[in-house]
Each structure stands twice: as structure tokens, then as C-alpha cells.
Symmetry: C2
Subunit: 295 residues, 2 copies
């Protein structure tokens, strides 16, 4: 398989769905404009692609769940808008473009984030998008995504991240932040496949292992790129974590050891898929791609 | 029936559910503390009570849906926390207590709001809370609540409210704001009853009419109380809408005519229930109570 083609095809499917979904101009126009500005600000659609690849690994046709997979991008985008706010990370640029609050002001940015999060659940529960999926499985997917995003997941990670700025690094806190702030939603993206397909316990467990490992690896690699990457490829300045006194893997272990940790996590992720057929090749290739990515 | 006893009993059921649900101390503690601070800051639980009374009007036992009804209070509470932020309405007090950002800082307040909204969907999809409800009906309730809360509902109303400050009042904009910012979630609260009960079209239509009318009436009465109420009963200063140059019914029509409009809306709401038995008496009484409320 050609991974680049696979990723491009899936990303185009997600983007085409968004274009078809957000055609109605709603009042007041600025709200949807702000939502779409961030949604189309260059995101790589990693989370939807993982959900699609995971559904395929279970034996499903990914085209059936494009709208559901796309909800993960709404939630990811909302989290970036709120993280970038002046009272959080205070970032003016994201992927080389002005952040939402720089474009629309803080009030609209907060509300655009709120609306993206809410729209994810509206989309997940939209009967016109569900095809032949079983309602019980859709409700399980709602649960998986909500758990990964809130008090037990992403928001808890962001709160801990804020509380930990300027603190001495320790492994337990660092792993808590990364597992909650980033890995939880990536793991939920992977779990969407078997949940919507109605897979059994063995498949759920294997993909849970895969999702946990690539989720943590994804953030470790992000940390490394912030030290060792290329500002132009990343669309943001290098060293922003250090300036913001963020806890990161390189600041605790150095770049080389962090690279080793990421490599081991990716190997474990791929091992979790040993019982899967070639249907899981996209997941295997994505794992290796995440390790080598430069942005 | 004794409405005060009814309201107290239902409010206690909702509060008891929250106490049992949020027993686990999660890390980092401040997030759940901030969520619970606002959740227990004196809310009247009107939205959950409407859902419970509406389920009863359809022939159901309200005790079966207390967790679902309670999710409406999570969403209402999140919206208050975000509305009160300095970049929105900049309110220091809510029901006589410091607002979330005054207690916890803006970053934690935004994140506590995010987590409350997310937790609503986690709770709605929690199989341990669903009793004998059908998953298809639960998914329909998720949809109703998400639609009422986001781009097509509450968030759109809040954005329009912000855009309309300092503008000349006009009826169309004012009604748009009130219908979206307040009435949409109140209507969704009422609709939760027939949706979870699996009621037919006639019942859904009748309760939709009831919900639309009390939803708008609720906000008109709020506007009147801001001009004509008692600061101590309300827990906030009188005249804050006028100082913030908010569009309100009294500023467009005066207090007396606004009271008349609210009265007509409440009459229409009660008329919508004409085909219901005495099971709908709580809904009838709540409508009249909303008209007479002083806080």
C-alpha cells in the first residue's frame, strides 16, 4: 500500500464531508465562519484517519463512517482554539496562521470552540448520517469520545498542564498530562472503529493497546519536534515549550532518549496488531509514519 | 398537587444524583472542584425539573430518568460559567456568589465549562444510568440536546447577544437571541420527556409547543426581573442588562407590555397541554410558577 495516497484519500473524504455538512449559512454568520476557519486551518486529520483505518482493520468499509470519524476533528479543533487563548498558552500562531482569538476576538473564539465541541455530539447522533450502523454502537462511540475528552481525559490533561508550568519535571506528572491531554482522544479515535463495527473483546483489547501506545508516542514526538524540528515545517517557532516552561519528554530525558521511548511505544503499538490481517496495514504504516513525521 | 413540594422533591433527586455521581476524587482536584462549585451555586434545577415533569406527563415514572434530566443542568451551568467570563458579560457575581473565574481564574473557569459540557454527553451515554430506556431513544435525546446547545441553539444566541450590544433594539434580533440563548435548551428539556418515553408525534408536537412558549416566556420574565426585581432575591444587582446595553423586552416594549407578552406565552403553553391528563398538572403549574417567580 502507498501510505501517502491512503492519507490523502481519507483526508479528502473528511474535508468533502465537512464541505457538504456546513453548506447552510447560519445566523449569525461569524460563528460558523470562526468554526470553519479553525477547521480548515491545515489540520492533518490524523484522528479521523485513525478511526477510518481502525474500522477497516476490523473488516468494515471506511466510507460508511466518514461523518463519525470527522467528529474527532471537531473535538480536536475545539481543544486547540481553547488551548491557544491568552489565558491558556497565549499562542498567536497555529500552523503558520493567526489563532482564532487573533482573528475573531476572545469571546467568539471561546464560543466557536464551544460550538465545535457541541456539534461533534450533534453529528454523532444525526440519524441521517448513520447509514446502517446500530444505534447501540453509536451510543457507545458517543460514550468513548465524551470520556476521552472531558473530566477523565483531555480537559484534565490541559488543567494539569497549566498547573505544572514552572514546576520541576517528574515522570508521573508528565505522563499524566500526555496520556490525558493528547493520548486519550487518539486512543478514542482508534476505538471508534471496533465500537462502530461491533467487534468483540479481543479486537477491542488489541486496538486499545495500539491506541494507548501511539497516543503517548504522538505527544512524545511532538515534544521532540518542538526542540529539534524545523519552524517552517511545523508552522510555529521552535522552543516554545521551553519558553512556556512546559513539562516535556526532552526536558526530562533529553532528545535521544525521548526518541528511543517513542520508538519503543510505536513498536508496542504495531505488536498489538499481530493477530490482524492485511486489513490493518494502514494502522501499521500510520504508526511508523507518526515516528518519522517532521510536522 | 403542591408545586413547592414537587419542585423540592425533584430538585433533591437531582442533587442526590450529582452527589452520588461525583464521589470519586479525580486528578487534578481543582477541575472537579470548579465544576461542582458552579453546579452547587444555587441553581433552581428548572431544566431537569421540566424534563422530569414532561416524562411524567407522557406517562413515565420520573425517577427513571433523573440522570438524563440532570445533564441539562450540566449544560446550563457550563453556559453560565462561559457567559460570565471577562471577555463575555464580565460578571463577578452569580446568585450572590463569586463567579467561577473570580474563584478559580479564567483558564480553569473555561476548562470547567468545557468539562461540564462534555460530561453531559458522557452521562447521557453511560449504560449504567440508562435503566430500561431504549438506546435509540437515548440517542435521539443526545441529538435534541446537542442541537439546542450549539451552532443552531444556545451558542448562536450568545454570539448574537454579544454582537448586538450597543445596537438599536429591534424585535427580530431580540427574539432570535432569546429563542436561541435561553428558549432552545428549555424546549429541549421539555422534549427529553417524550423522546425518552418514546411518545408519538401528537405528544411530541404538543410538548414542543409548550416548550417553545415557556422557553421564550422564561427569558422575557428574566428581562423584567432585571428591571423590576429585588437585588437580594435575585442575587445580583438590578439594572445590569441596561448597563451592559443588552437588548431586552422591557427596553423595547416597557415593563407592562412585556409582562403582557409573558402572560400570553404562558397561556399558550398551558393550552398546548389541553389533551393531556392530570399527569401534566406539574407542567401546567410550573408554567404559571415561572410567570410569578421573583428570582
Amino acid at each position: 500500500m502507498n501510505l501517502n495516497e491512503y492519507i490523502t484519500e481519507k483526508r479528502n473524504a473528511v474535508d468533502a464531508f465537512f464541505h457538504s455538512y456546513f453548506t447552510v449559512q447560519r445566523k449569525p454568520p461569524v460563528l460558523q465562519q470562526a468554526m470553519l476557519y479553525s477547521l480548515f486551518a491545515g489540520g492533518k486529520r490524523i484522528r479521523p484517519i485513525l478511526a477510518l483505518a481502525s474500522y477497516e482493520a476490523c473488516g468494515g468499509n471506511p466510507a460508511e463512517i466518514v461523518p463519525y470519524a470527522s467528529t474527532l476533528e471537531l473535538i480536536h479543533t475545539y481543544s486547540l482554539i481553547h488551548d491557544d487563548l491568552p489565558v491558556m498558552d497565549n499562542d498567536d500562531l497555529r500552523r503558520g496562521k493567526p489563532t482564532s482569538h487573533k482573528m475573531f476576538g476572545e469571546a467568539i473564539a471561546i464560543l466557536a470552540g464551544d460550538a465545535l465541541l457541541t456539534e461533534a455530539f450533534s453529528m454523532l447522533s444525526d440519524p441521517s448520517l448513520s447509514g446502517n450502523l446500530k444505534e447501540a454502537n453509536v451510543l457507545r462511540a458517543v460514550r468513548e469520545i465524551a470520556l476521552a475528552s472531558g473530566l477523565n481525559g483531555m480537559v484534565a490533561g490541559q488543567v494539569q498542564d497549566i498547573l505544572s508550568e514552572n514546576l520541576e519535571p517528574d515522570h508521573e506528572t508528565l505522563e499524566f498530562i500526555h496520556r490525558h491531554k493528547t493520548a486519550a482522544l487518539i486512543r478514542a479515535s482508534v476505538m471508534m472503529g471496533p465500537i462502530l463495527y461491533g467487534s468483540g473483546r479481543d479486537v477491542l483489547d488489541a486496538l486499545s493497546g495500539y491506541g494507548d501506545n501511539i497516543g503517548l508516542a504522538f505527544q512524545v514526538i511532538d515534544d521532540i519536534l518542538d526542540v529539534d524540528g524545523n519552524a517552517e515545517e511545523l508552522g510555529k517557532p521552535i522552543g516554545s515549550d521551553e519558553r512556556a516552561k512546559k513539562l516535556t519528554y526532552p526536558c526530562l530525558y533529553g532528545v535521544e532518549k525521548s526518541r528511543g521511548i517513542a520508538g519503543e511505544l510505536i513498536s508496542s503499538a504495531v505488536s498489538s496488531l499481530s493477530s490482524f490481517s492485511s486489513n490493518a496495514d494502514p494502522l501499521r504504516e500510520i504508526a511508523n509514519y507518526l515516528l518519522k513525521r517532521r510536522s
